[in-house]
Symmetry: C2
Subunit: 237 residues, 2 copies
DNA sequence: TTATAATGTATTGTATACAAAGTCAGCCGG
DNA sequence: CCGGCTGACTTTGTATACAATACATTATAA
């Protein structure tokens, strides 16, 4: 049964709960499991070929990530996300990313700048590709930001920021489709990178702020478009 | 077996995992379970009179809270916390509490200010009491800050800030013993409250910043005192 | 005496069984 | 025709059994 796992871990040991967790998480973020959809233990267990135990433990983790909501004795369902919550998340992210960028300008090493440049380059190349997979694009974007987070050397900040970004992955696919948006992101990344390279705190902060504000607008726009067709994200419960 | 639970929930239903989670969490924060101590499922299950299943699920939650560290196939142990991590946590808290205070100055209602005053008064009275229980004192302090968080109406921020504060509860008991420190905290709370009342953003932010910086110093002082006697918090793993 | 191998025990990882509660459809009475 | 009740079915909550791994101890050989 260990052999039939969706090929995820080539070498090292990973508990089933972790595999299940990553699988479900990915499915939620990719929209394969839709907001509000019920997560039933037995059917998940059958589908993934494991018993209920690892499923339950994975759900506990998803619950804490905020991707799943539990109602006692009534089971788990994929968390809905309201516009207000999105706004809340971005408000916090703005504050923390500013902190990160400020910190980085003071203490980033040349080696780390090199890595950042590399990540940015990969992202830019992905954008330029004609028919780039939105998932790959998203991952490249993720990499760039993760590099910034890592350079702070504040593990908890890294963890919190990753979690906050994660909340938005479900929408990223949508607005990353727009060619103009993607180009703009590349520009912004480069500008931020430049400011960091020059250790220009003020400018880096300003740009980062703008970057988040733009992201907010992009998401809201794509949300409105989606809502125009069909509602489903505007009420919390 | 449900009846023998450490009387926690008088009325509403709560899954065992939640009871176990709260119990263990409290024991970690109070220092009854010491950093580095192993958490063995069977002995915990026996001690709390439940089976391993709810214990395991509670541990998953503690793991995500950062109070417990898991090593696959080798079990869970209470998280150590290094000086660096404490610094990291406070760095984030400073940034977010500043955001909270700023936000509050703009949108707090008179009613909420009233509640904040009440919470502050309760805390001040606790401090003045001759032999006040440090736990009660800590809780009153917690209440005051939670009021501030709540006034932001940003649920995720409330959750994150509570979690970050939680990380420090293990040390709070120590430094709250010092009468001078406690008096100073009351003063600072009142000053912050006043600034908020006047909607003076700049001043409120400045005071909040100072409040956190002082907290940092207090904790570091009490940590150094502790380390002078016996080491145990300075290495990460 | 020391290093290494073997073996037994303790502990976690996973699966399954049983209990309790919730949901829903169909039936009966008003 | 509508509303409440009953009972089967679903689903979660909890306990336990079994498997696999890691750790410690002891014995054996160099």
């Amino acid at each position: 049964m260990r052999e039939s796992d969706s090929a995820l871990n080539p070498e090292e040991y990973m508990p089933l709960r972790e595999v299940v967790f990553l699988t479900l998480r990915s499915q939620i973020l990719r929209g394969e499991l839709k907001p509000g959809e019920r997560l039933m233990e037995i059917s998940l267990a059958n589908r993934l070929g494991v018993s209920r135990t690892p499923i339950r433990e994975a759900i506990r983790k998803l619950e804490h990530e905020g991707l799943v909501v539990m109602i006692p004795r009534r089971g788990a369902h994929v968390a809905e996300i309201t516009q207000q919550e999105l706004k809340d998340v971005l408000e916090i992210r703005k504050s923390l990313e500013i902190l990160a960028v400020t910190k980085i300008c003071r203490c980033i090493t040349d080696r780390e700048i090199g890595e950042l440049e590399k990540a940015e380059e990969i992202f830019a190349r992905q954008v330029m590709k004609k028919d780039s997979d939105p998932a790959a694009l998203g991952e490249a974007d993720e990499q760039f930001h993760e590099m910034i987070y890592n350079a702070t050397h504040n593990r908890r900040m890294i963890q919190i920021l990753n979690n906050l970004r994660e909340q938005m992955y479900r929408f990223r696919m949508e607005y990353l489709k727009d060619k103009e948006v993607r180009m703009k992101i590349v520009e912004e990344h480069e500008a931020i990178l430049n400011a960091i390279r020059r250790r220009d705190e003020q400018e880096a902060v300003r740009l980062e702020q703008e970057h988040i504000d733009n992201q907010y607008r992009s998401i809201m726009k794509s949300l409105e478009e989606r809502c125009a067709g069909r509602t489903g994200y505007e009420q919390s419960e």
